[in-house]
């Protein structure tokens, strides 16, 4: 399946792009992260501490064990600091 993957804040800076289209066969978010980590050093660095990474699937907060089936947009970002 094909998903749009978005990165924000320091995840965007470390990976170097704000979004990219990715072909994946990962069943869940954790699997997608593993695929990304294996790609290049910059991904491995960005995802080195998963306790500092949050994820949203189609713009709803989710967890690393959430399934990817039917998802079109995956976003990774650090804990939010609004307000």
């Amino acid at each position: 399946m094909t998903v749009d993957v978005l990165y924000f804040a320091w995840l965007r800076e470390r990976i170097g792009v704000p979004r990219e289209r990715i072909e994946t066969s990962a069943p869940d978010v954790a699997g997608l992260v593993e695929e990304l980590r294996a790609r290049e050093e910059r991904y491995a660095l960005a995802f080195s501490d998963l306790s500092a990474v949050r994820v949203a699937l189609d713009q709803e907060l989710a967890t690393l064990d959430a399934p990817l089936a039917g998802v079109r947009e995956v976003a990774f970002f650090p804990p939010m600091t609004g307000g």
Binding site: L6, F8, A9, W10, R12, A56, Q59, E60, L61, A75, F77, P78, P79, M80, T81, G82, G83
Partner: protein, 149 residues
């Protein structure tokens, strides 16, 4: 009622916004507003605060938080304004406003909105000084604050 939500880079007037909260709604006895301002760093030297957000999800996340506040505290009105982009020290970042029959509900709803916007709306702050830039880290206490709701 439908909350009024504005996500924008432009400055806004908290005073004008306050005048609109609860206007025309029946049974309003209490209006609470919170305004967030860019503070300089303890020793000074903040050149600007940059706020990144996730267009689309931002409006959706704020909308869900505001809907919860409206139904839980029976609000007659609910306003959220949040800016993004580059802001100078002293500039207004954001504002929430709540209108209810009684003061306890208006206060609780405004604090709930702030606690959730802080940790559940997709904004990220970056402080820029002469020495460089750094992403503001989320505080454990902000996450812990959600526990009281």
């Amino acid at each position: 009622m439908t909350p009024h939500i504005r996500v924008q880079s432009e400055p806004f007037s908290p005073g004008e916004a306050l005048e609109g909260i609860g206007a025309g709604a029946a049974g309003v006895g209490a209006i609470v507003s919170f305004t967030g301002i860019v503070r300089d760093l303890p020793g000074g030297g903040l050149l600007r605060m940059e706020i990144e957000h996730y267009p689309g999800m931002t409006e959706r996340a704020i909308g869900e938080i505001a809907d919860q506040a409206v139904s839980r505290w029976g609000l007659a009105d609910c306003l959220v304004i949040h800016r993004y982009g580059a802001l100078l020290p002293g500039e207004t970042i954001m504002m929430v406003g709540t209108a209810a029959p009684h003061r306890a509900d208006a206060f609780a709803a405004a604090e709930f909105l702030m606690d959730y916007l802080k940790s559940r709306a997709p904004f990220w702050k970056r402080e820029v000084t002469q020495e460089g830039a750094r992403w503001v880290e989320a505080l454990d206490e902000d996450e812990a604050a959600l526990g009281r709701w």
